[in-house]
Symmetry: D2
Subunit: 151 residues, 4 copies
């Protein structure tokens, strides 16, 4: 994975600025942990405001973290004037989302001019234990020069 080359000299700032504009991240308490070329990590604390009927975090909330981690992993490789849009994704829910905190780790598998393939994994943290709870694969699209869509 060490051959991934960012097209922006300041991809870290580009990703952080765009992430700051995702207001849903503040609503859900999802934070940016790290940005590397083609790899982004987000985190989220457990919150009863985000649970489904059994008291676990809702699969859609887990997917929100996975999609943003994956989308920004793709975005980190794109040019300064490019925006990223999610085309589609699949989430597999290996275990119920219970834990104190959650990590969402996005990783570009294959970048492309128009389409970028990305994977992400969600982990539940209970004390020092890190448990894989969900896998995610997505197709991301590079958007250049459309009015009204900013990175």
């Amino acid at each position: 994975m060490n051959t991934l080359q960012p097209k922006s000299a300041d991809y870290d700032k580009k990703v952080r600025d765009s992430f700051a504009r995702q207001t849903v991240m503040q609503t859900l308490g999802i934070e940016l942990e790290s940005v590397d070329a083609g790899a982004v990590v987000l985190s989220m604390a457990f919150d009863t405001a985000l649970t489904q009927q059994h008291g676990f975090i809702h699969a859609g909330v887990i997917t929100t973290g996975l999609d943003s981690a994956a989308g920004y992993a793709a975005h980190s490789l794109m040019a300064d004037d490019a925006a990223v849009l999610t085309v589609e994704f699949k989430t597999s829910l290996l275990s119920p989302a219970r834990g104190d905190r959650f990590l969402f780790k996005g990783q570009v598998i294959k970048p492309g001019r128009s389409l970028t393939f990305v994977e992400a994994r969600a982990y539940a943290l209970v004390g020092s234990d890190e448990k894989l709870i969900a896998t995610f694969s997505a197709t991301m699209m590079t958007i250049v020069g459309r009015g009204g869509v900013q990175g």
Copy 2:
């Protein structure tokens, strides 16, 4: 689809009670519109607290509505002592999620003793116009008699 037979005499109440326990639904402003045997409709108003970097509703929030509509469509056919858990899903994002309101329509495609296949569609409402913005397919699992997991 008219051959879908609920195993609970009071499936409407069962679904509404379980939905009321999904606290994330109140957090996101998602409401239950209708419950039929194998088909559930939810709705949500546009809210800037739920947007991504371009001002559209985040794909993960759209997926939260789709997953709940699909999960409760499956749940509506299950026995009184059965709970539903999502195994996996795929969401395809046909158009950006902009609109005044959104509808999430879940429909069972094939019920089964252990696994139920469900589809859902998300629509954006702008005035009287209803536009398909996302499709969703999922596998749901019936859980019976596990301690700590309630319907």
Copy 3:
């Protein structure tokens, strides 16, 4: 779905010519049944040369039929100089693939300049009974003017 507009005046011939170049279709005995704007139907007879360990048709063979039906449904709407490539797909296997014959029905859900979203369904025929055995959703990409890739 009746608003789908083909960009080629002779889309029927264009699809049939391309289908004839898919040699794997002859290998598997898959035939073209019908071509409409945005909708294509293929068929296949049961053949023990195509079975998995339980004597059913292998899920990968069913997916081959679904992918071609979906791909040509997308292709039917594209311009004369455009080729179609599959980006990704998901197949859900509702029931084992046993039957005398199988139908694969592809339908465009949303066409686009670059990406087209398509769904397909597989049916098993036993006598006059037609049973839904698999659902499929895919993203198709329009390719224009790349050397070496023809429609």
Copy 4:
């Protein structure tokens, strides 16, 4: 991944016997390369009988190899009286399937009593170069004691 424990003392023979009953594997020229606990590798030579309209191996054939590699990876962990059925899968097609040979590597991500989550990757071999061309994620189901379905 080294914590995966097979339930069968002779899982290697169990997988090889079942693979030998998949007649479609001979039809497509797919061979079993290796069997480990939770991991199976298959291979296939390029064959013009398996191509799509551009001369690449058809995505459905690639998926057939991926699904069998993934299914047998799951099967290798199951008890002697258990059979495996594919519930659903997603394939992402990163690059056209051209090459002299192809490898399909299946790996269990999370085994379970009823459901097992598996991933697989397809590689194209050109000379000594090995290129990732497709990723795959699937849900597999353990079937015990159903008449007519053998492992």
